[in-house]
Amino acid sequence: MMRPHRSHPLWLAYILHRLSGLALAIFLPAHFYVLSLALTAPNDLDGFLHWADKPLVKVAEFGLVFLLAVHFFGGLRLMAFELLAWSKDQKTLAAASVAFSFLIAASFLLRAI
């Protein structure tokens, strides 16, 4: 069970940021290794890319992009909170405009594919 003093949004944001960072750090060596195959063993790389086309791997890729997005925006949130002395209203407006532009961008993306 969640300890009572942790059940609030900021703590969840903190743990999400931590865990996504950890997961990305674990993934990175594999990422670099595969990239290095392009130089050291192009045939293996082709084999791998072929394998990576499987649906399950695609779903896993979604997870990866999700982690990246969570970590990226979590970091931006922290930097904005700590470095910009904004008022509550300014923060709400900023968050709203980011969410809105996200919505527009996502709908364009969906039309493109």
Binding site: H5, H8, L10
Partner: protein
């Protein structure tokens, strides 16, 4: 006493620095009863050896904080009806502080950190000087104003996982106090305070989990004060503050 529908089933942590366990008490339920009322009732009617601390009973002195159902609260202003789970409630000493006995914790480490954070006023004038004028709309006064109502109850300190993980960390209350002084134009040692709070265990240890602001009974926001300290220490690091 018989266990009826108007009886509370209260678990109270009993023990000392070497450990302890929960003990169960049956307490008659009353209208507008606070958690502190329950603790006082147990001590006066059942077990006079129960140790706890309080003074004002009206949310001013900050001495009655305890952990209620796992969450730090000021017990004199916490209504039983609000926190009851069925008929049960669990009362324990605050987290992150050494226990003296039962519900009373040793506050020394907490206040020592206030001093380490330079959370003491550094005067520049004497009683013979004119009183310095501070405009209530001055930006720094507004910043300080938002943080001055601290009652030193250590609820933020008990709720903070960074304090738990790093015994050296000054904690939200001490840093919040330092922030009020950084914004006090009458304080003569702004740079010493910034120096003190940027040491190991200082404001840059904060992970912005925000439990301090979430649970502060006076609705202060130490996390915002600490963010302010992070900004000011960063500025002074780059020689612009």
């Amino acid at each position: 006493m018989a266990f009826g529908s108007n009886t509370l089933d209260v678990s109270v942590w009993r023990g000392d620095a070497d450990g302890g366990k929960f003990e169960s008490f049956q307490v008659p339920s009353q209208e507008s009863q606070t958690i502190l009322d329950v603790v006082v009732w147990i001590q006066q009617k059942i077990d006079p050896s129960l140790a706890y601390r309080y003074a004002c009973r009206v949310g001013m002195c900050g001495s009655c904080a305890m952990s209620v159902n796992g969450q730090p609260r000021w017990t004199c202003r916490t209504h039983v009806q609000k926190v009851l789970r069925g008929r049960r409630v669990e009362i324990a000493p605050l987290r992150n502080l050494p226990v003296i006995k039962d519900l009373a914790t040793d506050m020394d480490p907490f206040f020592e950190k206030w001093v380490r954070a330079e959370g003491v006023f550094h005067p520049t004038l004497t009683r013979n000087d004119e009183i310095a004028r501070v405009s209530p709309v001055d930006q720094r006064r507004v910043e300080a104003d938002a943080a001055v109502e601290c009652i030193n109850c250590a609820i933020c300190y008990a709720s903070c996982d960074t304090v738990q993980g790093n015994p050296d960390y000054l904690g939200p209350a001490a840093l919040n106090r330092a922030w009020t002084l950084v914004n006090d134009v009458k304080d003569g040692k702004r740079s010493s305070i910034l120096e003190a709070v940027s040491q190991e265990g200082g404001c840059h240890n904060c992970h912005s989990q925000g439990s301090c602001a979430k649970f502060c009974p006076n609705e202060l926001s130490p996390i915002t004060s600490i963010a302010g300290l992070k900004r000011e220490t960063t500025k002074s690091f780059f020689g612009r503050g």
